[in-house]
Symmetry: C2
């Protein structure tokens, strides 16, 4: 039933395994396009970038909001006049018009970059050369020049010049989630934290900070049960496995993800997921940003940074009461199954 529904109404779900996907070499950096505007109904693109110590990207402004989630290594990021040092699990929100650029500070630095509207994937397609290895080239090579980025990024990107390293020992503070659209950097596990049963969901970019365009979040917890099959009329979801094993069902197909693997679920795509190992974790991109209402309605505010050893009850009653408003459409019946209602 799930498969039929997904096939009838929606665009296709898809899965990319770590190391797979359309990849470009940009000087010493490797850019893999995990989602683009064609696959996300024009909403966003998601790329993974890896490179070596000293690789930079020029200072520029972009016409739309983007965000960075660091997977490995250390990334020195400039946002307007401030420099931040991001390491694994740190997150940056970069609204349209903010001056941005970076230098990789580790021998292997890898991060996710998500951009509203999806113009960054066309920039990298124009800037890079097709490349098939799963990691950036050795030696790590040159960085793209301001001229090349200006040409490849027009008219969505205005280039201001080369990146200037901070040459400082200490770096700017990490902020809290703001209540308006400003640039900010969150330390790993900071954000708006909501507990849903046994799972901790940490919102890194919420409606207020992204003008409703998108939501970025992580979810983690112990080995758990499959949430019930459901779909959304208006919402897209992308799951990127960070830790452990996570199963995602999309349009009736079961994908067993390990870190680096991704599943994208379009609007109307029937889906579900399950954490298959202790302390599994995934990163998600959800559009539009008002899906934050789901976490705020069904989840409880949570002040700790790891999920509790004894789960809180899952508030299925709240879900059923508000499902229509939350754009959650449950497929089949929860009765008589061991499924959790929603994760």
């Amino acid at each position: 039933m799930a498969q039929a529904l997904g096939g009838r109404l929606g665009r296709a779900c898809y899965c990319l395994r770590s190391g797979e996907g359309e990849s470009y070499r940009v000087g010493g950096q490797l850019v893999t396009i995990l989602a683009d505007k064609e696959t996300t109904e024009g909403r966003f693109d998601l790329v993974r970038i890896s490179g070596g110590k000293g690789n930079t990207f020029p200072l520029h402004r972009a016409v739309s909001h983007s965000a960075i989630y660091v997977l490995e290594g250390s990334l020195e990021l400039q946002l307007n006049d401030e420099h931040f040092m991001l390491t694994q699990g740190d997150f940056a929100s970069i609204p349209a018009g903010v001056v941005q650029g970076y230098e990789m500070k580790s021998h292997c630095t890898q991060f996710l970059l998500v951009t509203v509207g999806g113009h960054k994937s066309s920039l990298f397609r124009a800037l890079g050369t097709a490349y098939s290895a799963p990691i950036h080239p050795a030696p790590c090579g040159e960085s793209p020049t301001p001229e090349d980025v200006a040409k490849a990024g027009a008219p969505y990107v205005e280039v201001l010049g080369s990146y200037k390293p901070a040459n400082q020992k200490g770096y700017g503070y990490y902020g809290k989630l703001p209540d308006r659209v400003i640039p900010y950097v969150l330390e790993a596990r900071e954000g708006e934290r909501r507990l849903l049963g046994d799972q901790l969901h940490t919102l890194l970019l919420h409606r207020e900070a992204a003008d409703n365009a998108m939501l970025c979040a992580t979810a983690e917890g112990p080995k758990g049960l499959k949430v019930i099959d459901h779909y959304h009329e208006h919402i897209t979801e992308t799951f990127y496995c960070l830790r452990g094993r996570v199963s995602v069902w999309g349009d009736g197909v079961e994908y067993n993800l390990v870190p680096g693997d991704l599943v994208h679920v379009p609007t109307k795509g029937v889906h579900a997921y399950r954490l298959d190992t202790h302390d599994a974790r995934f990163f998600s991109v959800i559009t539009p940003g008002d899906f934050v209402n789901f976490f705020r309605t069904v989840g409880d505010p949570y002040k700790e940074y790891v999920y509790p050893p004894v789960p809180s009850p899952f508030h299925a009653d709240r879900l059923f009461q508000y499902a229509e408003q939350l754009d959650i459409h449950i497929v089949g019946s929860a009765a008589g199954t061991r499924d959790e209602i929603m994760g």
Copy 2:
């Protein structure tokens, strides 16, 4: 054949999945014993420690060498009079007698601690209380007191007092691999790098730096072939998956590892492994340290930090010529198989 040989000659191989294993709560920290002197023929123990921001461990000296490999978060580590900030992939070597202590600086900090002789697992058994959740408790709670550690660690540990945070913005330098037994810290991917065919092996603690007691290393590469079944008369090997999927065969059993999973192979245990995903990686502990000769004999020195897009040839000729001296005993025949000789 492999199974029979392993069963006949050796101690048992075993596998622990992420979140499994004998675990202790030590104040706000969770300590999981992955290997102890009983399972490693008295050679070492390996524990995984996780905790939250502000959790500390008192200053102390120990009677034997230990080493730290950071899995997540930020760990401020004192070694004698210097402070270092370690993040994911960074490594510290702590010889016997060195003053050591730490403070966790991230909301979730997790690292591996390996100790020659295996006295740290008995320390944690005496210090902690049995705990079954896969991650440290929330809230992150108190740290162990110097008095408690002194009592639990005697006679192997001499406690000097509470840990004093560095309160500095910049931290000490990262070193190169030394040629003698001194404390040092390596930045992620630094170390003695050897290329073996398509795989990059990075030695983090070698014979010279650990008085021959043990070798710590990482291995990474593209999706590859299974190395040939082999065993060692005198060498133990422990595989801890860091990234992607890694299969390890131990005594004829196939273990498909994801990050956080471990397989220990005792002396005389027939084993093999394979990298199953692009850019898979594992951390290994090998005793004694003279197994470094294998990497130096069969591998080529390599100055880059990621494996090359085009593999170098694997020097099987060197392996066959020196197998006896290297304590490598091949089981079965390499002829007519697609197996690589050795990874």
